[in-house]
């Protein structure tokens, strides 16, 4: 991990995420809670390393937001940080904290993912701002990201409202030049204030606050008219473009000479400013990724505007998309050459590979979840058959098992990762015990939040800021929830894994199997002494059993002929890349021809 190099450097190349963390630190934000999720993860990681701040990974986004609300109630400036789908999880407290406001300041960072680079859906979280009646700022690059987190905090204090800061993958993960400032948060802000009428949202109080929310939004709408980050950049009057966030950069890149209304705040919109801008240009466009969020509101003002008629609803934009849309160009995208795709894959030595290989042999229907293991749906493992959202594997396995009754006996398995189980798996597992389920749940426990880049969680024994802490015991928890059959396996032992799965599928009632094998990235010490396996090409019969593991280190070499040792014909043989092999031994275990050999004898 690189140290935070800030001293004596006036400007730095920073990602949007790093810039948000820096801006928060400079502005006296002392508290942040979040759950890892691409593209938001690095905000918490970078923030947690600044001096004098408190930062935590919460078990999920709902808890993170509630924790941040508590901190804001205690008077400090607090952030809750999550990816777009995380806001769905946090939506319950979100809609009501909009009523209560806070004592300090509260900003919710939502990192959206147009093009679903690393997500299960492409939702446009600007809709949450409107839905929950919360103002939303949207930066276009790293310098703005750093500035806007400060503006968002100020806005939160000024109007006693939570504020959204929305990024997209392209803003979060692009790097651009940022001017570094000195911290100037100022003073101890902590306090306890008793204001039940404001914070106890029973109907009588909530009805009063409901009115206050409308009043606040009306004031914010007025304020938006003078907000300096809503700005007109007048150029040629032939074409005017209303835009926000990264789309602004794409448009400026191809059409630097047109007129722009660049919105720093996307909710609520400055209606008078939009009317003025529209009156100054001949042709008006809204350039926005995903939903026609601004466009529909502009149209509702009675203004003629072009948007989704020429720009796509789906996927992220680039400068080319805007050029094609505005110039009504007919040229399609040049099709790239037809070459083999390169999807992400389970790493060589990944413990999940053993689990899904064994699971495949059971022919069970596997409800899956969110994590690296989701990648096992691809050929050749094809090891899981659903992926909806965090925690869904368990509820779905239970629902299928209940609906199928005797037809589903021994055929329904749910697989969920350790961090995902903690995030959203505990209540559905309790439900399985309570409602007498018959499915098998596997906790694929690789001791980390691997998909997002190795974050700690309540079962790793370490906090985000590196403190040692309590370590959740999955087996004890499952027992306490009412699951009587709980087994622990090492998934790189194929024989044992297969037999335990068979036994648990045959049993009546719910079972939990904890498949425990540390992520390969946690094994750096072991990897230093790895002795790769090799293929004895005289013995390999070309049966391709080892290829069924889908290990990136094993490849197929076509070479028709006779196998020297068996004298039988084969079409080719397997080969192991010794720079990739990490000696997990799965291929050694599946090989029936004794052709895969440990280096230097058995290990």
């Amino acid at each position: 991990m690189k140290k935070q190099e800030t001293k004596g450097m006036q400007q730095q190349l920073m990602s949007g995420n790093e810039a948000i963390a820096r801006g928060a630190f400079e502005h006296g934000v002392t508290f942040a809670a979040g759950y890892p999720g691409t593209p938001s993860t690095e905000i918490m990681e970078a923030f947690s390393r600044y001096e004098g701040v408190y930062a935590e990974w919460s078990p999920n986004e709902k808890v993170a937001l509630e924790v941040a609300i508590g901190a804001a109630l205690a008077g400090v400036k607090a952030m809750a940080v999550m990816k777009h789908v995380g806001v769905n999880v946090a939506a319950d407290p979100l809609f009501t904290v909009s009523y209560t406001g806070m004592n300090g300041a509260l900003v919710i960072v939502t990192a959206d993912d147009p093009s679903l680079h690393s997500s299960q859906n492409e939702q446009d979280n600007r809709n949450y701002a409107k839905f929950a009646k919360i103002p939303m700022l949207e930066p276009a690059d790293s310098q703005e990201a750093k500035t806007f987190i400060k503006l968002a905090m100020d806005l939160s204090e000024k109007f006693d409202t939570p504020v959204f800061l929305r990024t997209t993958t392209r803003v979060s993960h692009s790097k651009s030049v940022v001017k570094i400032g000195e911290p100037s948060g100022g003073g101890d802000r902590r306090s306890i204030k008793f204001e039940p009428a404001k914070y106890v949202m029973v109907p009588a109080n909530a009805r009063v606050r409901r009115v206050a929310v409308e009043k606040r939004m009306a004031q914010l709408k007025e304020w938006a008219e003078t907000f300096p980050e809503n700005r007109m950049e007048m150029g040629s009057a032939d074409v005017g473009i209303i835009t926000a966030g990264m789309a602004y950069n794409y448009a400026k890149d191809v059409f630097p000479d047109y007129s722009y209304l660049k919105l720093g705040m996307v909710h609520p919109l400055p209606e008078k400013m939009i009317r003025t801008f529209a009156s100054k240009v001949k042709e008006l466009y809204v350039v926005e990724e995903l939903d026609p969020f601004i466009e529909e509101q502009v149209r509702a003002m009675g203004i003629t505007v072009t948007g989704k008629k020429v720009f796509p609803y789906t996927g992220e934009f680039d400068p080319g998309v805007i050029e094609v849309g505005i110039q009504a160009l007919q040229k399609g995208k040049k099709a790239p050459a037809a070459i083999p795709p390169r999807p992400p894959n389970l790493c060589p030595g990944c413990p999940h590979r053993g689990l899904f290989y064994a699971l495949g042999k059971t022919k069970a229907f596997v409800t899956g979840d969110i994590g690296c293991y989701t990648l096992s749906f691809m050929k050749p493992l094809q090891g899981l058959h659903t992926c909806i959202c965090m925690g869904a594997s368990i509820g779905m396995a239970h629902g299928m098992s209940k609906a199928l009754r005797e037809k589903g006996k021994g055929k329904i398995v749910g697989v969920i990762g350790d961090s995902t189980f903690i995030h959203s798996g505990i209540t559905p597992l309790l439900n399985m015990a309570y409602n007498k389920s018959d499915a098998v749940i596997i906790i694929a426990d690789n001791r980390t939040t691997a998909m997002t880049g190795m974050q700690d969680h309540p079962s790793t024994g370490t906090t985000l800021q590196g403190e040692k802490t309590k370590e959740l015991d999955f087996a004890a928890l499952a027992k306490v929830l009412g699951i009587e059959s709980v087994r622990v396996i090492h998934p790189l032992n194929l024989k044992k894994t297969t037999s335990v799965l068979k036994e648990e599928l045959a049993k009546d009632g719910p079972s939990v199997v904890i498949s425990r094998g540390p992520c390969i990235f946690l094994q750096r010490e072991r990897l230093k002494t790895v002795r790769p396996f090799t293929v004895d090409t005289d013995a390999c019969t070309g049966c391709q059993l080892c290829l069924g593991l889908g290990c990136p280190a094993i490849s197929w070499k076509t070479e028709e002929g006779v196998v020297p040792l068996t004298g039988k014909k084969r079409k080719g043989f397997a080969s192991i890349d010794k720079t990739l092999c990490v000696q997990c031994s799965l291929c050694f275990q599946v090989c029936r021809a004794d052709a895969i050999k440990p280096a230097g004898g058995p290990s």
Binding site: Q11, L13, T38, P39, T41, H117, S118, D141, T169, R170, H173, S174, K175, S176, V177, Y248, N249, Y250, K252, D253, V254, P256, D257, D318, P319, G320, V321, E323, K333, K334, A335, P336, A337, I339, P340, P341, R342, P343, P344, N345, L346, C347, C372, L375, M378, K379, P380, M451, T452, G453, F521, Q544, L547, G550, P552, I554, S555, W556, T558, G572
Partner: protein, 194 residues
């Protein structure tokens, strides 16, 4: 008025050091007083998928990514990846290819063939193509993992805005102390390749 912009596209496979290489280019150009933006998509990069990084610099940069047909130099850290992103290159653009082959899953399984003639396919469309065997040069430099630094060395010859020392200063900062000598050597070996 459009300001002149130089667009680079680095493409490779997770684990090859594409992102670190693009960070280094970004810092070198920023130190040279230019505006820089760079963009990549990561999150699933460690798991062997494609990794790309756009780097754009000039007096004023808006978009961190180039549109198709607008990239000046494509730096392919893996041979097959050259073909995947060739459509981003502008007419007359330059191509640097690391001659390393890393098989994607479908090739490993025998379902697809690896396009071994990638460099020839590129040469049919673009004149200025440099093929480097970066792993061999990295090993020669004393660190087999310094492939990305070899590629930076080769790229540096095409970027006259900055001197070798500008590169080396940043390289020395970005790597831990014991890796610096091999990476500086790797840079030189890459730069000497013609």
């Amino acid at each position: 008025m459009k300001e002149p912009v130089t667009s680079l596209l680095l493409a490779g496979v997770g684990g090859q050091g594409v992102l670190l290489a693009s960070d280094i280019i970004g810092k070198v150009m920023m130190r040279a007083g230019l505006d820089v933006k760079k963009s990549e998509v990561h999150g699933m990069a460690q798991r062997g998928g494609c990794v790309t990084s756009h780097v754009r610099y000039g007096r004023k940069i808006y978009s961190p990514i180039a549109k198709e047909g607008d990239v000046d130099i494509l730096v392919a850290f893996e041979k097959l990846e050259t073909l995947r992103y060739l459509n981003f290159l502008k007419a007359g653009g330059k191509v640097l290819i690391n001659e390393e082959e890393i098989y994607p899953p479908s090739v490993n399984l025998g379902d697809a063939a690896y396009p071994v003639d990638a460099a020839e396919v590129v040469r049919r469309q673009f004149k200025d193509v440099l093929v480097i065997h970066a792993p061999a040069l990295a090993r020669k430099a004393g660190n087999a993992r310094a492939v990305s630094t070899v590629m930076l060395g080769a790229l540096s010859r095409y970027l006259p805005e900055v001197s070798p020392d500008d590169w080396k200063n940043v390289i020395a900062e970005e790597f831990s102390e014991k890796l610096v000598p091999a990476n500086l050597k790797a840079f030189d070996l890459g730069r000497e390749t013609t």
